[in-house]
């Protein structure tokens, strides 16, 4: 219980320290606004900030919803066929290795400068899909060859092998990949908004830049706080899903020593 409270207590203490120092040293709000000022900005522009949050959230989850089937599909294709591995994997690695900030402007041009949301989805998808692909690929390769022999012996069809062996065997890895991918998709969406720049984008990152341009520093921090909260919430949600899957499998890390 204490271990659960510790991060909350430390965060509260840090915020209190921050507030105290800003007041005691009379720090200029343009440099570092006090948490209370950020809170006030958050409340003041709550409707528009929440709309922006919802927008970024939507982009992130559309990208995630695309990354999941495309990553899973490609992983199975590559796993089944050496030719597909030779052909596709290098391209996926190149896409992953190139900094997404550098590709973002090109993608924005390709998807239409007047359609920034499309570009955001594509950018977020690019960064989110690779961990799904690579994690799933390792999980597929880790399946006991004897289990594959067993399925061959009993004349399993390709579909039966997929549904009854490969998919359930890689489910825990898939959930972990999804957890990592959700954070990356959010980063992708933010990077995309930065690259898209002017007015058309409606997400939180754009609000952050705009607030910076207008020197509304507390609003900037409010956007930042919302982005962190969003990332944290996604991580917690998918972390919960991961624990649920692992517990059902009896794979969850136990604090008690194993043994019967």
């Amino acid at each position: 219980m204490l271990e659960r409270l510790a991060p909350v207590a430390v965060t509260v203490a840090l915020i209190a320290l921050w507030e105290g120092l800003v007041r005691a040293l009379a720090v200029d709000p343009f440099v570092l606004p006090a948490p209370s000022a950020i809170g006030a900005a958050l409340v003041a522009s709550a409707p528009s900030l929440l709309a922006a949050l919802l927008h970024t959230l939507t982009i992130t989850w559309i990208a995630l919803a695309l990354a999941l089937p495309s990553g899973v599909g490609l992983a199975f294709l590559i796993h089944r066929s050496a030719l597909a591995e030779a052909g596709i994997l290098p391209i996926a690695v190149v896409l992953q290795a190139t900094p997404v900030v550098a590709i973002a402007p090109i993608i924005i041009i390709w998807t239409g400068v007047d359609q920034p949301d499309r570009a955001l989805v594509v950018i977020a998808w690019i960064v989110a899909f690779f961990p799904v692909l690579s994690t799933l690929l390792s999980a597929l390769k880790a399946i006991d060859p004897a289990l594959h022999d067993l399925f061959s012996l009993y004349g399993a069809s390709g579909r039966a092998r997929f549904v009854r062996l490969e998919l359930p065997a890689s489910l825990p890895a898939l959930v972990s990949a999804l957890k990592v991918a959700s954070g990356l998709a959010l980063i992708g969406a933010v990077v995309g908004e930065y690259a898209a720049g002017s007015g058309a984008a409606q997400g939180l990152a754009w609000r952050l830049i705009e607030a910076g341009n207008r020197l509304e520093i507390p609003t900037m921090f409010a956007c930042l706080a919302l982005l962190s909260a969003l990332g944290l919430a996604q991580y917690a949600l998918l972390g919960g899903l991961e624990r649920w899957v692992l517990t059902r499998r009896g794979l969850a890390a136990s604090r008690r020593p194993a043994g019967r």
Binding site: A146, L153, Y154, A169, R248, G250
Partner: protein
């Protein structure tokens, strides 16, 4: 009557390794054939060829009758699906054939003494119990031939003996035909109605012994000691010329 005949079966791998060369083997229906050999004698390769998991480079494998044989295979490890229950694991051969037969699953579990554990997960069972599940899975589709690849090698002595007794009983009660790979002389001598000793790499049949199927199998009976001695001598001859490389 022979259920299965291997005629001059050889297996060379792409990397130039010859695992088996010219193996002639006859598996009579209802026999308990033990394949005994040192590591590298191609025992597992032979079993995989019989199971159709691998194809011979030379020779042929002839089955009696026209119908495709139903096989049961027990691997060195229990090889269970960890996310599935014991009953689901046992039912797998039926499921993959598009069949549902809860009575057959119950009967197979009862045969290995796991009646009460149908809903357990593999991780909740001991190693010996997991191996029993694996045997039940191999039996559930009423196999023409049951293949076992050193199934008890990783178990402790007492569990191994108990599972040996169980397997012997299943063979007699269910009229199974069994090919059992082992590197243990006592295990081969205990089970065999026909014991085949394989030569070292490349594997070929070095010696074949036929024992009375219904002989006394007590560990103190003279017949058991004689069988052990015969097999040990044959195995030792295959090792002649193998000096320090063992």
């Amino acid at each position: 009557m022979s259920l299965l005949r291997l005629e001059g079966v050889g297996r060379r791998f792409g990397d130039g390794v010859t695992a088996l060369a010219g193996v002639d083997l006859d598996v009579p229906a209802g026999a308990f054939v033990t394949l005994l050999g040192a590591s590298g004698s191609g025992k597992t390769t032979l079993l995989r060829l019989i199971a159709g998991l691998d194809q011979p480079s030379d020779g042929r494998i002839v089955w009696a009758g026209d119908a495709a044989p139903t096989l049961g295979y027990v691997f060195q490890a229990p090889t269970l699906l960890p996310w599935a229950t014991v009953a689901e694991n046992v039912a797998l051969p039926l499921t993959l054939a598009g069949r549902r037969d809860p009575e057959a699953v119950t009967a197979a579990l009862a045969a290995v003494g796991l009646e009460g554990r149908a809903e357990a997960r593999p991780r909740e069972l001991s190693g010996g119990m997991q191996m029993r599940v694996s045997i039940a899975r191999a039996l559930v589709a009423r196999p023409t031939l049951l293949l076992l690849d050193e199934p008890f090698a990783a178990l402790d002595e007492i569990t191994r003996d108990r599972l040996g007794v169980l397997l012997q009983r299943l063979w007699r009660e269910q009229g199974l035909t069994i090919v059992f790979v082992t590197h243990s002389i006592p295990e081969a001598a205990y089970h065999a109605s026909r014991a085949v000793v394989l030569d070292r790499a490349p594997g070929r049949v070095a010696a074949t012994f036929d024992f009375a199927a219904d002989r006394p199998r007590e560990r103190t009976s003279p017949g058991y000691f004689a069988a052990c001695a015969d097999l040990a001598a044959a195995l030792a001859r295959t090792m002649a010329g193998a000096h320090e490389d063992a």
